[in-house]
């Protein structure tokens, strides 16, 4: 199989530098805002505070992006039920699917009337979130 997978660098130094600078600027803007408020200059204080918050938001966003771990493939176990029915007496048995089962396959004898039973259904159990689709 031809293989030329692009190597995915999860974090790069450029990104780290940008995040660091943005954080430093945001802290500094926050400090300046506090100084401006102390010096009775609310106009400057407000604009500096807005700058600071914007900087924090941006740097946090980029940091979260950079920290995003490598994706994993999680395969949830799936329960598949086989329903076996005795057509003579109506006895019904539901069990886990076994390899070799198929719908309309004649299986073991009925424990009640000793007649051959039939697989009438094989279906997977669906999670609630999936069933709402």
């Amino acid at each position: 199989m031809s293989e030329e997978t692009p190597t995915v660098a999860r974090t790069n130094s450029f990104m780290v530098a940008i995040i660091f600078i943005a954080f430093a600027l945001s802290f500094f803007a926050l400090y300046q805002a506090m100084v401006a408020y102390v010096n009775q200059n609310p106009e400057s204080g407000n604009s500096l505070l807005i700058m600071s918050l914007t900087g924090f938001a941006l740097s946090t966003y980029f940091m979260l992006q950079a920290q995003r771990g490598a994706p994993k493939l999680i395969l949830k176990p799936q329960r598949v039920a086989t329903t076996i029915l005795c057509e003579k007496c109506g006895f019904k048995n539901v069990r886990e699917f076994q390899r070799g089962d198929y719908i309309l396959k004649e299986t073991e004898n009925c424990p009640k009337c000793d007649e051959r039973m039939l697989i009438t259904s094989i279906h997977r159990e669906v999670e609630k979130s999936e069933s709402e689709d």
Binding site: A29, S47, P71, V80, R99, D101, I103, L104, E125, D133
Partner: protein, 373 residues
Amino acid sequence: MLAQVSQLFGQDNSILGWILQLSWLLLFVVFMFYGQRIQTWNMLREVEGSLVRFKLMRDEGRKVAISTIKEVGKPQADPTAEVDRFLEYVALPPAEMDPAGIYWKLEHVLDVWDARVKDEVRHMAPEASEAEVNNLENLLGAALALNVYYKFVRHFYTLGKKTMSLYVIMQVQMALPLLMREAKAHLSALRASTEGQPIGDGAGALVAAKLMREYEKTRIAKDVVMAKVPLEGRTAFVLKAEGPGGNAGKPGDAIKRIIEENGGNIASAIIVDAGQKWEGEKVGEVIEGVGVAIGGIGIDRFKVDETVLKHRVPVHAVVIKEDLGDAISTMRKEIVDAADVAIDRIKRLIREGTREGDSVIIAGIGNTMGIGQ
């Protein structure tokens, strides 16, 4: 001048204040000139994350295929190299510039594909029974599809990275949610094919299987069985793909043969198949209509269309609704239950549309994996 500029930004005149102002101005300029490039980087990162997921799914498909072949087929040699070769197989469609007879050409290509794949599977898994060969063919098909999804996304990712073109990367970025959904559906198909469990696509085959169970079956076309079933005072020619191995057979050939052998004296043909549901519709909903309800590439539909037109046979459709994920993964209970609803609909259609003593065709279409007859 400095004081005026400073007032413009409502800032103190300290050196640090100026550094701050200049940094923000610089940031503004950077966004103005490099905004699109930054957007492209962002999109590339998003596609990159998905690409890793597609690769994991592709690897899972390959791993499952190899382990199942080893388990079921008990080969003498390691089948890894053969599986890897198979995952790169392509079927090239015939030239379309002159479309006359394209269906026959396409059918030929698919026949060759089917024969080749079956030979490969038999070679890889010498101990597998005929039903298991069919299931392994389905399994390899799902693994191949996962490989195609991965390579498709990788192509656009790499091309986007090389050209840094927003429009190249945007094409795949916009399609990612749908591609991911389809890939996940194929991932669930792996499980069903590994175990030989019935899949949602077999809804039509299940209906036919229930109708023909107690009657004698004959093979009427490639991988298709037929039984003559007395139903509501009529004679029903019920057909489906031969199970329980995973295949869909050639129902088009079977329907054509039945109509021609009966000299066109077929009062009605009812075709039952699984059909794509719209979002918001319930899985297992049964709807009716007219026309040839046979999915796939269209070869069987074309054959039936030609024959029913020639003999003026009315064609009715009974469709069991499901989405792609349901169609190729293990059957849901709603679909199993829908088979009985579909049988009731068929009986009503026969009662209302034909007379006693008439002959009708009931064709259960779909992959019959995990469904006997």
